[in-house]
């Protein structure tokens, strides 16, 4: 009686590691219908409580079951401005799907795959023009066009605010465009989702570096904005500060992925931005970004791509699915290992790496077991490209140039988790600039809550 979830068709690993096309191919209508039929439509749905943007999950699946895809898409979009993105990159296994009642004894409903199916159906058939609410004639500025900013902007526009988004790069989307690779999140999908945000009435201005081109205070005092949402993300790459780290061929994950995704270096020389990948690539770290970098390296022609991580498999922060995909494509894993120094040739190009082995000690403040170096375990390995993917810290440009904003010890903006309220009443913040590097969906949740508090703040201010 109990059926497992419908599998997701995917490109063959041996073929896909040589191209940048999307790995997961999406459900067919038959597959979607079969999977949707597994949903019990619980009276007290737990899945919704696991969704940071509060999607009416049983609602959209019910409409899908009835074959009413239009209504299904409308229900999705009622809460989620970027469903085609979320259906692809959300860690559903720790959120909605983790709470699905079917998961207690078998496999949970594949909510993410169904979300993707419905969103893709709508993109393919043409997204209807959203209804425009009664204008409130109040201007709100959103800084940063990543997941947090786009969500806040979309929600505020739906409430009738006049929203302008300021983006520092030449393309909106933030990490969705520069960070997550084409093979996991096609850029055309992101563009179409952003187009929907624009059709809600949001004005997106690119090439605007807030903190340089103008400041948050200028927006508030001179340009007539009554509230500002800051969603500038975790922009600054961490390095390990070990000897030889400035040799050439050692990239931050941000640089490696930005060159490839945003600047399309994989299409060089049709696109003028170059990237160089050697035969042996080492990726330091084991989060989603590290998996993206390791898989990208293979697609750029590396013969070997190895994840180097100082803890064990169990502590790897990447999604299980990403680790599996990487493994299928031939990415190697060198665990309980970390580099301590790099060596280069006369041109300053990295050629080798000295690593140290680790064992696991007691849990640290993150709850994960602390890696302890094993004395005398150093060994050398030959490599010619390194990608450092050990996390990012908040970008200081906006915090540094906005007076009276309380900043935390990691350079993050201090903001209330529930409301996004900062130390200044007219400024709200959310996403990685507040939490440090986290996930797309958590940033979207923060954007959604902040939009609600901005609305409350502006209504309160008026009365």
């Amino acid at each position: 009686m109990k059926k497992g979830r419908v599998g997701m068709p995917a490109q063959d690993p041996q073929i896909r590691k040589g191209n940048f096309h999307e790995v997961a191919l999406g459900y067919t209508p038959e597959m979607a219908a079969e999977e949707a039929a597994r949903c019990l439509n619980c009276k007290n749905p737990q899945c919704v409580k696991g969704c940071p943007v509060e999607v009416d999950i049983p609602g959209f699946i019910q409409a899908l079951k009835e074959g009413d895809l239009k209504r299904s898409a409308m229900i999705l979009k009622g809460k989620n401005n970027l469903p085609a993105v979320c259906g692809r990159v959300c860690p559903q296994e720790t959120q909605c799907e983790a709470r699905c009642i079917l998961g207690k004894k078998g496999e949970p409903v594949a909510i993410g795959r169904l979300e993707r199916f419905v969103a893709d159906w709508e993109r393919a058939t043409g997204v209807p023009q959203p209804e425009r609410p009664v204008p409130k004639n109040k201007k709100v500025a959103v800084i940063g066009s990543g997941p947090a900013g786009l969500t806040a902007a979309g929600d505020l526009a739906k409430m009738g605010y006049e929203v302008t988004v300021f983006e520092a790069l030449h393309t909106p989307g933030g990490v969705l465009m520069y960070g997550i690779p084409e093979f996991r999140l096609p850029k055309e999908v992101v563009r179409q989702e952003i187009d929907y945000i624009r059709r809600l009435g949001v004005d997106i201005q690119v090439n605007q570096v807030v903190g340089k081109t103008f400041t948050v205070d200028e927006l508030l005092k001179q340009e007539g904005y009554e509230a500002v949402f800051i969603g500038t993300g975790a922009g600054l790459p961490n390095f390990m500060n070990i000897p030889g780290e400035n040799l050439t061929g050692i990239y931050s994950a941000n640089e490696f992925l930005t060159r490839t995704n945003l600047m399309k270096a994989y299409l060089f020389p049709q696109y003028a931005t170059p990237i160089k990948v050697g035969r042996r690539v080492a990726v330091i770290g084991a989060g989603n970004v590290a998996m993206d970098a390791a898989r990208t390296a293979l697609r750029l022609g590396a013969e070997e791509s190895t994840i180097i991580y100082r803890r064990s498999e169990e502590e790897m922060p990447a999604r299980h699915e990403e680790i599996e995909h990487a493994r299928e494509e031939g990415v190697r894993f060198m665990l309980l290992t970390s580099p301590v120094a790099y060596t280069g040739d006369e041109k300053g190009q990295v050629r080798g790496m000295t690593c140290q082995r680790f064992s696991l000690g007691d849990p640290d403040e993150s709850g994960r077991r602390r890696p302890v170096p094993i004395p005398g375990s150093e060994f050398d390995m030959e490599i010619d490209t390194v990608v450092v993917a050990i996390g990012q810290t908040p970008n200081p440009l906006v915090p540094r140039t906005t007076e009276g904003l309380v900043i935390g010890k990691h350079g993050n903006i201090v903001a209330d988790e529930g409301s996004g309220a900062t130390s200044r009443p007219e400024i709200f913040a959310g996403g990685d600039i507040v939490t440090g590097a986290a996930t797309v969906i958590l940033a979207m949740g923060a954007g959604k809550r902040a939009a609600r508090s901005i609305d409350e703040y502006l209504q309160r201010k008026q009365s």
Binding site: A168, L169, T213, N246, Y251, T258, F268, Q270
Partner: protein, 277 residues
């Protein structure tokens, strides 16, 4: 889109562009830079701001054709548009009244040193300027530099204009003759290194402007890292100006050369007429 209002040849492979960018012009200060992207398939190119007019809302940038992307930029005419232009990026020069200062501009580096010399002069400094290049055809803005300097010295490697020799030779003579409070040097990496070595024994603070490989210019990618003393700094947000006595120029030169073979590949493609329009 950013309109090119004026284009002017300045010398061999040297070009000046005046671009309409009122928002950036309003904020620009000497020492800062912009990043531009000519069209969809183009690279993001960092270029130091050579001049700006807040009234006209324009920026002046000067560049040398060295590779595929600058060659493509050189093909633009007045009336054409640049797809993306962002700035002003980096920290401005620290303009104060120091006393006697020397501004050294080598080759295309004359452009960014000009607004610094001008602002130092305005701030009440006695400004001695030295401009130099391999030969006379690579020199420009002699009058503009003379206007903002108490004295202007010219040096060329081949002696085709001014004195024969390096800018550092002139600088050394000045340092021997009088008390200099601070030196700015902008130009090819090797020139900045030699200038820093020249001033080191005199203990004169020497500011250099680094122009490393960059992608975003907002601190995000770390491509522009520069070793300064014991620290790694990002030229885009911590610079571009650094203490010349602490910069590891040898590392910087190696880093700058990393994509040379790729640039050659792109250039060859464009010579074959395979340019994707």
């Amino acid at each position: 889109m950013y309109k090119i209002l004026h284009k002017e040849p300045l010398g061999t492979n040297l070009h000046l562009l005046e671009v309409e960018a009122p928002r950036i012009a309003r904020k620009a200060k000497s020492g800062q830079f912009i990043i531009l992207r000519l069209k969809e398939e183009a690279e993001r190119i960092p270029l130091t701001i050579a001049d700006y007019s807040r009234e006209k809302g324009t920026l002046t940038i000067i560049f040398q054709e060295v590779g595929y992307s600058t060659r493509e930029l050189a093909g633009c005419r007045a009336g054409d548009t640049i797809l993306d232009l962002v700035g002003p990026l980096g920290l401005p020069s620290e303009i104060e009244k120091y006393g006697t200062v020397v501004c050294v501009g080598g080759g295309v580096g004359i452009a960014p040193v000009y607004p610094i010399a001008r602002d130092l002069k305005k701030a009440g400094n006695r400004v001695l300027s030295i401009i130099g290049a391999r030969n006379s055809s690579l020199l420009f803005w002699r009058e503009k530099m003379a206007e903002v300097s108490d004295r202007l010295f010219i040096a060329t490697d081949d002696g085709s204009e001014g004195r024969k020799g390096f800018v550092s030779d002139v600088l050394k003579e000045i340092l021997d003759a009088e008390q200099v409070m601070r030196v700015w040097a902008i130009g090819p990496m090797i020139m900045m290194k030699v200038v820093a070595e020249t001033t080191r024994p005199y203990g004169v603070p020497t500011i250099v402007s680094m122009n490393p490989i960059m992608v975003d210019g907002t601190g995000m990618c770390g491509a522009c890292r520069v070793a300064v003393g014991q620290q790694t700094r990002f030229a885009c947000v911590d610079g571009p100006e650094f203490d010349g006595h602490l910069v590891d120029f040898d590392l910087a030169m190696k880093r700058a050369a990393f994509f040379k073979d790729k640039e050659q590949q792109a250039l060859e493609m464009c010579r074959c007429g395979g340019e994707g329009k």
